[in-house]
Symmetry: C2
Subunit: 324 residues, 2 copies
């Protein structure tokens, strides 16, 4: 049985999975990305987790199982497929350039280590194992600590001139608006992401001036997950937060659609669990901002991949593609 | 000698050229698009001009010249390559759907009539006859009555799901801002186009409250061309107008670049004649709004095609491509 490691490096957590050729995850583990302020120490920890997971899977399948480890695929923010490095990531605590593919090759003694943008990996996962199998032109949107994207045109992932196409989370949504990393202001991901939802929640408390179900919590303990949960229970401030997030994302996706005219946007990530209270305002704002020739011709749908697995499956799919 | 008609349909003027295989324009003519409120009457006029130009070229080359007329290519706003129709154009006076390819086939008795978006045609012209010959990933931006765009990814024109990709002029630049056609507000082309420059000029008169070199002119006689001319002569209001136009366009192109990561933007159209007083603020704002991994890696350059010929050459190139 051929197995690949699929690694999803997020600003908050790193998830490692062992994936077979059918897209089934046979084992997984995770640790806190934000604890690491040095790329080398991070690579040490990642290698340790990978080795331990390998041993675990080998033991559980027994000595008779013929396991073939084909390589390691990884999706990370600001990862460059061509160089195998994570370059100037705004949402990670280790800065500068981290040649993670080379670091892992050395620490693991494995030749095949492939790196790509985390959202590109998610898009490849959606295309190969998820809901995008029949789509030649689509865009994957991942809502996590930031907002990531992966763009398919004419049945191929777009890497572009830099090798890092699909960074729509950094589009200027509101010049002079919320502060970002980079010293820039008003990027889309400061409004439409898990982090953005949290910021909008506090803006709504200011604006509406009414109690919320989270009033007893310390400010730093409030999460986007809880905001989604209380919105579902009818909390007015949280409902207004999710609705405004949807309106903003719908407007922004309408602008993105005008570049490559995709047949669909697939939405992935924690906030998408909110379902229709998020998706309805996205769809309405999208159509409202769309020009007649595009109206009603772009689907906005939830990812068909299980939560937390899109990037893992996509990263593993990259590895399988390399050996076939 | 093989000859094609290349037609550039703009909101203001329609230009018709006879183009040979080397990209040389052997004859041309033009008329006012804005005079026509009916697609059928417009097609009548266009067919008349084409026939007259054909006769003119035949007479000038004499009966002995073996001229082979291979077809008609046309670039028009909101043209759909697949249907051969102009669909719901916001900047033309004839509304709804105009099946122009079929109308011209009938009126001219020619089989090969091809229609595409005017900015896509310009992009094909830049790729085949202009400055983009060596570029696999670039975006053409045309500044006219509106703002058009044509997107190349991996050496191919992007048509997308609708067949009408590359409509970045309709991106929402300032929600709640200037009114557009469509009943929408704040589209990029209301700020960055010949029309947008005119609107910004009046906003600057309001804001700055100082005299301009055009103060003797009736409001409806003020053109973007004159605004560019007086800016070059040092008019403060006009200079501020061109600078703000550049800043806005630079910011918007930075957002567009994040989708497909092009190596270059080629800028085409009347306002580009302003040169560095427009291009410098575009480049500065572009870099200012760009994320580190993209910084300094995208050129913003003037089209290498002669003014007024980009769309004609591109439209003609489409025809030659069809027969080869």
């Amino acid at each position: 049985m051929k197995l690949a490691f699929g690694i999803d490096i997020g600003g908050t957590n790193t998830r490692v999975g062992v994936v077979n050729r059918d897209g089934r995850i046979l084992g997984h583990s995770s640790f806190n990305t934000a604890d690491f302020f040095d790329g080398g120490l991070y690579a040490d920890q990642l290698a340790t987790v990978i080795k331990s997971l390998k041993k675990e899977v080998e033991e559980s399948y027994g000595a008779d199982a013929s396991l073939e480890w084909v390589g390691v695929g990884s999706g990370a923010p600001n990862a460059n497929y061509w160089t195998g490095a994570i370059e100037e990531p705004p949402n990670l605590n280790f800065k500068g350039n981290t040649p993670l593919a080379a670091m892992l090759r050395e620490r693991l003694g494995m030749d095949r280590v492939v790196l790509t943008n985390d959202a590109n990996a998610a898009a490849i996962g959606e295309k190969i194992f998820g809901g995008a199998k029949e789509y030649t032109d689509f865009i994957m949107i991942t809502l996590g600590t930031g907002l990531g994207s992966g763009v398919y045109v004419d049945n191929k992932m777009v890497y572009g001139h830099t090798g890092c196409a699909g960074e729509v989370g950094h589009m200027t949504f509101d010049p002079g608006g919320r502060f970002c990393g980079y010293g820039r202001r008003g990027s889309l991901e400061n409004y439409c992401s898990a982090t953005g939802i949290r910021r909008t929640f506090f803006a709504k408390i200011a604006e509406m001036g009414i109690p919320t179900m989270l009033d007893e919590k310390p400010i730093n303990a409030v999460t986007s997950k809880e905001i989604v949960e209380i919105a579902e229970k009818g909390d007015e401030v949280a409902k207004a937060t999710i609705e405004e997030t949807g309106e903003r994302l719908g407007q922004a996706l309408a602008s993105v659609a005008l570049v490559t005219s995709p047949a669909a946007f697939f939405l992935f990530g924690g906030p998408v669990q909110a379902g229709d209270i998020l998706l309805d305002p996205i769809r309405n704002a999208f159509e409202e901002h769309m020009i007649p020739i595009y109206k009603g011709r772009t689907e906005i749908i939830e990812s068909q991949l299980p939560m937390g697995e899109a990037a893992i499956l996509g990263a593993a799919a990259l590895v399988f593609a390399e050996v076939e």
